[in-house]
């Protein structure tokens, strides 16, 4: 079991190192830029899941220049129609766009200037004409709108396009040419299929790539949790043990630790993040909080130090009540000598135990901050801030957003708790015989 725990920890450390290299840097920089993600389908599952249940994937199509036209070949072999087809021209002249199905039927989709980009699913009259020709019974526009207008394009002729969609599989050709004369080879427009699945971990409600948030956020999350738990364990050890000494400094430390234990952690964390982070206004509506992961680790340690140091203090107090300490005192040992020689050997394994138990706790806390939209830097809390930003009415619990995070948290928690318990079993549990000897 211990080997498994070590393997899990090693895996996540490796993932923290490699993960950020698997994402496009531009995606990270534009995480809070809604318009950047508009070319992605919103709220779709991962591609590997789509493969299982026949969902079309999201992809750019490559055009072939043929006699003044660009032809895009789309191999449609899925059970469902894609969410939409996006066309982005790179010139302002009037364009003629048509689609040819595998049976060779040609349908005109658009003829005119495209302002910015064009989504085929929004072309009401063209889609209605196709539906009139192909679908039996003929659907109304509202029926098509609520059940994906592209079903009219991708359904078998003579079938019910809306309620019993039968796909017409094969290669579709999207032909783009100039309305008045052909296009030049350098005029290639871009065509993107907005499928019903996307990338390694799907997209969220804004169309953002969940994998980007997960893989890029892993590094900071792991750094903050390991470092934060380390600082927390060491500071708790110092504060908890020194607070017992009955000098003025000891009493002061005791009061500090008691105050920190009584301060609500959430407000403390939020305010410290505001005070120590670098705030950047993004497009007037969003504030991006930049924070060094090391500073964040310190914040997390300060937030939890109260409770942890009180635990250490109670262990020290329990130890000081033992008989051998009394003997040591009688022999003239100073409080610091007693702490160093007798109490510290008991506290060090406990500190290791505290570190192990704090790592998952710190990760949990970071993700929790995301709920309150206080996300310092880019970590797993960034992913959690999404449901809230979307608003409760728009919030849909997409499993591909929650499950990977939950599994990772569970695995990390399991590994560290297992190691913590090993430390507890080896060093902290006292056999009864030893207890009676004392």
């Amino acid at each position: 079991m211990r080997r498994l725990s070590v393997l899990i920890i090693a895996f996540f450390i490796a993932f923290a190192v490699i993960g950020p290299h698997t994402v496009v840097k531009e995606n990270v920089e534009n995480w809070n830029n809604e318009t950047y993600w508009k070319y992605n389908p919103a709220g779709v599952p991962p591609e590997w899941y789509g493969e299982f249940i026949g969902l079309p994937k999201t992809e750019w199509l490559h055009g072939v220049y043929e006699n003044g036209s660009f032809v895009y070949y789309y191999d449609f072999h899925y059970n469902k129609a894609p969410q939409d087809i996006l066309i982005i021209p790179n010139l302002t002249r009037s364009l003629k766009i048509s689609i040819i199905d595998p049976l060779g039927r040609k349908y005109l989709l658009w003829n005119g200037i495209i302002p910015g980009s064009l989504k085929v699913g929004t072309l009401t009259s063209s889609i209605e004409e196709i539906a009139d020709e192909k679908c039996v019974p003929k659907p109304t526009w509202s029926q098509l709108l609520f059940h994906n207008p592209l079903k009219a394009i991708f359904s078998k002729p003579g079938t019910d396009c809306v309620f019993n969609f039968v796909p017409l599989k094969g290669t579709y050709r999207i032909v783009i040419t100039g309305s008045y004369g052909g296009l030049q080879p350098g005029d290639e427009p871009r065509v993107r299929i907005l499928g019903l699945s996307y990338g390694r971990l799907g997209t969220d409600v804004y169309g953002r790539d969940v994998w980007t948030g997960f893989a890029y956020g892993a590094r900071q999350t792991i750094i903050i949790s390991l470092l934060g738990a380390g600082i927390l364990a060491l500071l708790s050890l110092a504060l908890g043990s020194l607070s017992v000494i009955s000098t003025r400094a000891g009493s002061l430390i005791n009061v500090i630790s008691k105050i920190l234990a009584s301060t609500p952690s959430l407000p403390l964390a939020v305010i410290l993040v505001v005070l120590l982070g670098r705030l950047e206004v993004v497009r007037m509506t969003t504030i991006k909080i930049q924070m060094n992961p090391y500073a964040m680790a310190l914040v997390v340690a300060i937030v939890f130090i109260g409770t942890s140091s009180r635990k250490i203090r109670s262990i020290v107090e329990e130890e000081l009540r033992r008989g051998y300490i009394e003997s040591s005192k009688a022999l003239g040992a100073s409080p610091l000598q007693i702490l160093r020689l007798h109490v510290l050997p008991v506290l060090i394994p406990y500190t290791v135990y505290l570190f192990s138990m704090s790592v998952p706790g710190v990760i949990a806390f970071i993700t929790l901050l995301g709920f309150f939209n206080v996300v310092p830097g880019f970590n797993w809390g960034t992913l959690m801030s999404t449901p809230l930003m979307a608003g409760i009415a728009k919030y849909v619990p997409y499993w591909w957003q929650i499950v990977p995070l939950g599994i990772s948290l569970g695995a990390i928690a399991y590994a560290f708790i297992d190691l913590g318990r090993t430390v507890e079993r080896k060093f902290l549990e006292r056999p009864k015989t030893l207890k009676t000897q004392n």
Partner: protein, 332 residues
């Protein structure tokens, strides 16, 4: 005994006052930083005192039922009327309910959850620790996983099952109660049904954690000589369990007292997730107003309520501890 309790509550009260001053200092520093002022000047004793007084005045006025101050200025035969929202108006318009109701909602969720957690946690832990067997084996698996995986994750799991898949319980408390009030069918059960997902989440998340603590305390205690003698004497298990519970209760109460802040954090997240207009929502909006408008009074109010809750919790549990722990009683 009573003297001990009073002095312990007094000690907690002093700590509470220091915590309030600390929060006020930090929030006013954050305000200064966000509005481009110097943090050093914000923490000068005079300014700090004024700011703390301002925050406290806001926190008191928030309970005053007036929502608008109307200011009329007449100048050159023209009259200008300005509507200035009061702290109460700011609170109700942002949070969606009055501060009294917010506190009541949070207290209801916390109290009901804590009661259920204490009862079921103590019973399960006692049984697992003393008798072992299946309850112990289940607890050994669930305890560590529930203590490490954050509450929000289980909240999402419950939400997915009970709202998304089974449609048994409502997701948004606010929407559910509003709809019921429009349809004229609001009873106490409407509120309870609206709150059931948050309460269920907090309870289920924490029962294994609390049960694990009781179990560990019982396991340590059951190897003591007096328990072994009881077993040899042939005392029924229920009697020994009752005795063990009495012995481990003080330590369990200390754990409960220290875990309160953790429970409060989880409650805040659960309130936000299930759209309950409690103190969690007030905190969320307070943090937003601080970040985007540079005003920390609502955040201070939410933090103050949290600190008061913690103070009350510590005082109650400290008093209970002093009453229940025989060693403390004897000393007294």
């Amino acid at each position: 005994m009573a003297k001990n309790i009073v002095s312990s509550i007094f000690r907690e009260f002093i700590i509470f006052i220091i915590v309030v001053v600390l929060l006020s200092t930090l929030i006013s520093s954050a305000e200064a930083r966000l509005t481009g002022k110097s943090v050093e000047s914000a923490v000068q004793p005079g300014k700090l005192l004024n700011k703390t007084r301002e925050y406290l005045r806001f926190s008191v006025k928030v309970f005053n039922n007036k929502t608008m101050n109307i200011i009329t200025i007449t100048k050159n035969e023209s009259t200008f009327t300005y509507y200035v929202p009061t702290p109460h108006g700011i609170y109700t318009s942002w949070v969606g309910t009055t501060p009294g109701k917010s506190i009541l909602l949070t207290l209801t969720i916390m109290t009901l959850s804590l009661l259920l957690i204490l009862i079921f946690g103590a019973l399960w832990g006692l049984r697992a620790g003393y008798r072992g067997g299946l309850p112990d084996r289940i607890l050994s698996v669930l305890g560590p996983s529930f203590s490490a995986i954050p509450g929000w994750f289980w909240a999402v799991v419950l939400l997915w099952v009970l709202w998304w898949k089974l449609s048994v319980l409502p997701l948004s408390y606010l929407d559910y109660v509003h709809r019921a009030s429009v349809e004229g069918r609001v009873t106490i059960f409407t509120y309870l049904k609206g709150l059931s997902l948050p309460i269920l989440t907090l309870t289920l998340v924490n029962i294994p954690v609390y049960a694990m603590t009781v179990r560990n305390l019982v396991v340590r205690e059951k190897s003591e000589d007096y328990v072994i003698i009881d077993i040899i004497k042939g005392l029924p298990d229920r009697k020994i369990e009752r005795k063990l519970l009495r012995v481990v209760l003080p330590s369990f109460l200390t754990f409960t007292s220290y875990s309160f802040l953790n429970l409060l954090i989880n409650d805040m997240a659960v309130e936000v997730l299930f759209n309950v207009p409690g103190i969690g929502r007030a905190f969320l909006i307070g943090a937003w107003i601080l970040l985007y408008k540079g005003r920390g009074d609502l955040l201070f109010f939410a933090s103050l309520v949290m600190s008061v809750m913690y103070f009350l919790n510590t005082s109650i549990f400290e008093a209970l501890y002093l009453r229940l722990d025989p060693r403390v009683r004897r000393d007294a």
